[in-house]
C-alpha cells in the first residue's frame, strides 16, 4: 500500500470529502488541494459554515424539512396558503418545487417511499403525521408530488387511502410530455400516460 502523501489531517479531509455524492478519491484530493491553496478565501469560511450548519441544522417537527429553526422557514411563512399541502418524498424535492415557485402552500416531507424490497413500511415514513395535519388543521387539498416510479405511485395510492376520512381533496401530479421533450425520444410509459391525460383545448 502506498504511503500517504500528506499529513493525517489532510488525508482525513480527503477521505471525508470522497464520501460526498459526485466526488471520488481523486476529485476529493483536487478539491482539498484547491481549498488549501485558497485557505483564507475558501477553506476557513467553509470550515466555519460546516461547523455552523452541523451545530444548527435540524429537521422541522411539522413538515420534515431541513432548516436551522424549528418550525422551518417554510412552515413559519404566514403568506402561504394554509389550505394546501404538497407531499414530497425528500427534502431535495421540496427545494426543487420551491426553486420553480410551483407551489404556494405548505409541504410535508415523507422521508422516502414504501418499498417492500428495502423493508420500508408505512411506519418508517411520516404518513401518520401527515394524516394528523390533515385532520387537525384547515387543510383542504393535498397534492401528492411523488416520483413517477412504481414505489412512488404505490406510496401515493397508500396515502390516498389513509386520507379517505380526512375530508380533503387529494391530487397527484400529471404524468406526460416534459417541456422541451420530443415525442420520438420519450419512453412508452410516458407516452401512454400523456395520451391518457389528454386535455381538450
Amino acid at each position: 500500500m502506498a504511503s500517504p502523501l500528506t499529513g493525517p489531517e489532510i488525508e482525513r479531509l480527503i477521505d471525508l470529502l470522497a464520501k460526498l455524492p459526485g466526488l471520488g478519491p481523486r476529485s476529493a484530493r483536487r478539491a482539498v488541494l484547491h481549498l488549501i491553496k485558497k485557505k483564507e478565501a475558501l477553506l476557513i469560511p467553509l470550515a466555519r459554515a460546516v461547523s455552523d450548519a452541523a451545530e444548527k441544522a435540524m429537521i422541522c417537527s411539522v413538515c420534515g424539512n431541513v432548516d436551522t429553526r424549528d418550525p422551518c422557514t417554510v412552515c413559519c411563512d404566514q403568506r402561504r396558503d394554509v389550505s394546501s399541502i404538497c407531499v414530497i418524498e425528500d427534502v431535495g424535492d421540496l427545494w426543487a418545487l420551491e426553486r420553480a415557485g410551483a407551489h404556494k402552500g405548505y409541504y410535508h416531507v415523507l422521508g422516502g417511499t414504501l418499498s417492500a424490497l428495502d423493508g420500508i413500511g408505512p411506519d418508517d415514513l411520516s404518513i401518520g403525521k401527515l394524516v394528523e395535519r390533515c385532520h387537525a388543521g384547515e387543510v383542504k387539498e393535498v397534492i401528492l408530488a411523488m416520483n413517477a416510479t412504481v414505489d412512488g405511485q404505490a406510496t401515493a395510492h397508500y396515502i390516498t387511502d389513509q386520507l379517505e376520512t380526512a375530508g380533503v381533496a387529494v391530487y397527484r401530479l400529471a404524468h406526460g410530455v416534459p417541456v422541451g421533450g420530443e415525442l420520438d425520444y420519450l419512453d412508452d410509459g410516458t407516452l401512454s400516460a400523456a395520451m391518457r391525460a389528454k386535455r381538450l383545448v
Binding site: A116, A148, V150, A154, H175, G189
Partner: protein
Amino acid sequence: MEWRDQGIVLSVRPHGETSAILEVLTAEHGRHMGLVRGGASRRMKPVLQPGNSLTLTWRARLQEHLGTFTADLVKSRAGMLMEEPMALSGLLSVCAVAGALPEREAHTPLYEALEILLESMDDADIWPAVLVRWELGLLQELGYGLDLSRCAATGEREDLVFVSPKSGRAVSRGAGLPYKGKLLALPGFLMGAQAGGASMQDVADGLKLTAHFMDRYLFAPQERTLPDARRRLVELFERRQAVAGGGRPGPGGPA
C-alpha cells in the same frame, strides 16, 4: 460468459451513484441479478421499472459472478399501471413473490405465465383471478403443487369446495362441511368451473389459499414471512370487496 434472453423486471436497487442492481425473471435463466452500469441515469430509470419486459444481455468473466446486464426495453407496463392502485399493488405483489424463486434456475412456464398475467392487468375483471392462478402455478413449478383432482377423504371428483391446509389436497363439500372452520375454501375458477370472471369472493378465497401454501412452502423455510406487498394487495382487495358489497358467499355458506 455471455447470454441473451427476455426478462421481466422484478426489482432494482441503486448501486453507487450511477449504477443499479437489477433483478429479473428471465425466460431461460430464471431469476437472475446483474449490475446495470448507468442504471440510475435519467435514460435508464424508466426502463428499469418493475413489470417492464426487457431484452437482456448478461456478461461476466465467470458463471458465479454477479455480471453486468445491458437492457433494452421491449414493453413498458409500469407507466400504464401506475394510475390503478389495485393493479399496481398486484404488480408489486407478484414481483415480491417471484423474488422468492431460487436464483438462476429456469422456470420458463412461470415466466410465460407472468407475461400473460402482466398483459391482463389492464382488465380489472380478470387479472386478480389470473394472479391467483399464477401463484398456484408457482407452487406447482417449485414442486409444491396442490392436488385439486379428487377429494382427499372420499376420492370424489365432483363438488370439491375445500382444500386441506395440511395436505394441500381438495376436499368435497360433503366430507368437508363438518370441518369447515379448519379448511381453506377452494374457489370454483381454479377448477375450471367458471369460464367467465371469478367473483370477488372467489378471488379473495384464492388469495387466501395461495398465501397459506406460499407462506408454508416458500417463505417459512427461508425464515421469511409473506412479503408486505402481498399482504397489502389482500388488504386493498378486502377493502374493495367491502365497498362493492362482498361478492357471493364462500363454500358451505348460506345458499
